[in-house]
């Protein structure tokens, strides 16, 4: 028959194994209530604009744009203007256009000229290299050699929200268009629609 002391020792050993045994097999630290998920999973926390919406929009727009220009002999030089957020939510639309640009650059179908948002940094760097006298003439980027974009991409994000006592329905529409800057003609346009419903 096992003594009371032996039983106590076993209980302590069991609790030590429970507390520390499992943690040893996972390279984690901190022990807080934090867990990592997959960035590509479908996010359904609530009906607000989320990561899956951003990813689906960026993918749909970049694939459609790439398909429209992939057969061109020369990669079109494009600048990206703002995407207007006409929804009631705060949405970082630059994050959407950044994803679209990233995918198009990686696809090798387009080149991007400095857009309005990055122009200050670009001109500051040119001025710094040319006007401070700190750089070798042979290695400075020359002023007046920037390439002007042939096309401008811009868009809008709109939403329609309806709700009753049991359901909230959100409809997003992302519209993107590409305009020939010289002629002003609209060369490409597409849209991505998303419907989300949340039960209350």
């Amino acid at each position: 028959m096992m003594s009371a002391v032996n039983l106590k020792t076993l209980a302590v050993l069991a609790s030590v194994v429970t507390l520390y045994g499992c943690a040893a097999t996972n390279p984690t630290t901190g022990g807080g209530n934090v867990s990592y998920g997959n960035a590509t999973d479908v996010e359904t926390v609530n009906s607000d604009f989320g990561s899956t919406d951003l990813q689906m929009i960026a993918e749909a727009m970049s694939r459609s744009l790439a398909q429209s220009v992939a057969g061109n002999k020369q990669k079109p030089l494009v600048t990206v203007a703002d995407v207007k957020n006409k929804t009631d939510e705060y949405i970082d639309t630059k994050s959407i256009t950044d994803s679209i640009k990233t995918q198009l650059l990686k696809s090798g179908t387009m080149k991007f000229a400095t857009d309005i948002a990055d122009m200050q940094n670009q001109t500051d760097e040119l001025v710094r290299q040319n006007n401070t006298g700190l750089y070798k003439k042979s290695s400075t980027a020359k002023i007046g050699h920037m390439e002007g974009a042939q096309y401008r991409i811009e868009g809008t994000l709109t939403s329609i929200v309806k709700k009753n006592s049991s359901v909230k329905d959100v409809y997003y529409k992302f519209t993107l268009m590409m305009t020939n800057i010289e002629s002003g003609t609209l060369e490409w346009m597409d849209e991505k629609e998303i419907r989300k419903q949340a039960r209350r």
Binding site: A39, T40, D41, V42, S51, T52, Q55, M56, E59, S62, R63, S64, A66, Q67, S68, V69, A70, G71, Q103, K106, S107, G108
Partner: protein
């Protein structure tokens, strides 16, 4: 018949020796076995040098069914040429058939594998 259509479609793109084995089943990685959703059409072609895949999925149930999918874009040797795509949700109404148009992100993509996950699967 449907299998033959896919084989013809892929062979026409110049997939060489691997094309003989291409069937709808061979191009789909299912997470579980979908109980009501059937991938019953598939064809591939190139448009402006980009691989374009068309997929038909039928809901054989008379209730709504949900599923998720994404594509792995591969080169001739089966190596991935693009990062993991986001999973995309699909909603099928009862007895509805949907057609998906999947455009490759890069001209380097010469082959593909569809990852498909239905919410209603057969139990193991």
């Amino acid at each position: 018949m449907k299998k033959a259509l896919l084989i013809i479609g892929l062979c026409a793109l110049g997939y060489g020796a691997t094309c003989a084995a291409d069937t709808i089943e061979s191009k789909v990685d299912q997470m579980g076995t979908a109980r009501y959703l059937k991938i019953d059409e598939m064809s591939a072609r190139t448009d402006n040098n980009l691989l374009v895949v068309r997929v038909g999925i039928t809901n054989t149930d008379d209730r709504d069914q949900k599923a998720y999918y994404r594509v792995r874009w591969l080169d001739e040797s089966g190596d991935a040429v693009w990062d993991d795509e986001p999973w995309k949700p699909l909603l099928f109404h009862g007895d509805q058939k949907q057609h998906l148009k999947l455009v490759a992100p890069t001209v380097k993509a010469k082959d593909f594998k569809i990852e498909f996950s239905a919410e209603a699967n057969w139990r193991k």
